[in-house]
């Protein structure tokens, strides 16, 4: 199924984005992209196997992704408030 290949490509692009981008918001977007790619794979396999469970799991992934976005963006806002920056390179409080 070609959908699985698209899902793989999107997941890979998301993973590369997490590795390369330094704006925390964009990193979060790339994580969302990976979750969406996983959802596409779930839906595709649900269709291939004729099983509705894949769609239910994709639904759960969406809900958990929404919760994750809420907490993640709250953390980003808090860090931005204290450090005036949304770059993932700047929080270096643990550095010796």
């Amino acid at each position: 199924m070609n959908y699985v290949y698209v899902a793989t490509l999107l997941f890979t692009i998301g993973a590369v984005g997490v590795l390369l981008r330094r704006n925390a918001v964009v990193v979060f977007m790339c994580i969302e992209l990976m979750l969406n790619a996983a959802n596409l794979a779930f839906v595709t396999f649900a269709r291939i196997n004729g099983n509705i469970d894949g769609m239910v799991v994709a639904f759960f992934v969406m809900v958990v992704a929404a919760a994750e976005v809420v907490v993640g963006l709250a953390i980003i806002v808090t860090i931005f408030r204290t450090r005036r920056s949304a770059s993932v390179d700047d929080p270096n409080l643990l550095r010796l």
Partner: protein
């Protein structure tokens, strides 16, 4: 049921839609990666999510397609945009590499991951697509099938997810809550503070003596007969070009009241 048949096999229409939209989705995902401005990334992300919603619809996941549009492009992307506006739209990534060779290594790792998964997938022969039509028909409809599965087999994960959502909402509130360390100043305190340092709050007095002469070099007279130094410009006071107000005093026989 034509829709069931549609979902089972790949029809020509689906193939065309897929081959039009799939490159677009991948291109939009790449644009998320390379856009330097975070807002542009967010817009490309919205496009990718819309295309994914179309993919869900194409594969018979009607409910998920609608939820994808409502939850992702509606709620999550708007949240992203809100936060972007909050942390500053102009914030763009600097091109300076803080870790040497991070870009090359990241691209290599990504290519390795993608290559491995695609190589693994290419060795798989997928079974002929069954389609979820049978499962739908057993439950009496698409949404009914998902609902039946959600509230019987997956009822415990469903409850856990609801707890996760509530915890996330509370966590966001706790994280973004700002504690006031000092109490907010009342209006009375603000007013007292304003007058405490002795700065004049009212407009400065105008120059001129008894309205007979209002040139800027003549200071105004105070009720007790002394001059008001703040009524003439500071520079004139320093250079000593201020006129004494006595020159314009009314004498007893000065009846026409003019200053000639």
């Amino acid at each position: 049921m034509t829709s069931v048949m549609l979902a089972a096999q790949t029809s020509t229409g689906e193939a065309v839609t897929f081959w039009v939209l799939a490159p677009l989705a991948v291109a939009a995902a790449v644009m998320i990666l390379v856009s330097r401005k975070a807002v542009h990334s967010a817009l490309w992300m919205a496009l990718t999510m819309m295309i994914l919603a179309v993919f869900f619809l194409l594969q018979g996941g009607v409910f998920l397609g609608v939820v994808q549009v409502v939850v992702y492009t509606g709620a999550v992307m708007m949240l992203f945009l809100f936060v972007l506006m909050l942390v500053g739209v102009d914030a763009s990534d600097s091109l300076v590499e803080t870790l040497r060779g991070q870009r090359v290594v990241g691209l290599l790792l990504g290519a390795g991951l993608g290559g491995l998964v695609i190589a693994g997938l290419s060795r798989v022969t997928f079974a002929e697509s069954v389609g979820i039509g049978a499962a739908e028909e057993a439950a009496g409809g698409h949404v009914e099938a998902i609902g039946k599965s959600l509230f019987t087999q997956y009822v415990f994960p469903f409850e856990v997810v609801s707890a996760v959502l509530i915890t996330a909402a509370l966590g966001a509130m706790v994280l973004t809550h700002r504690e006031r360390i000092i109490a907010r100043k009342s209006q009375r305190e603000l007013a007292a503070e304003r007058f405490r340092d002795g700065v004049q709050q009212t407009p400065l007095p105008a120059s001129g003596v008894f309205a007979r002469h209002n040139a800027v070099d003549t200071p105004a007279l105070l009720p007790d007969g002394t001059t008001a130094p703040s009524s003439v410009p500071e520079q004139m006071r320093r250079s000593g070009t201020v006129r004494p107000p006595g020159a314009y005093e009314l004498s007893e026989d000065d009846s026409d009241g003019g200053d000639r």
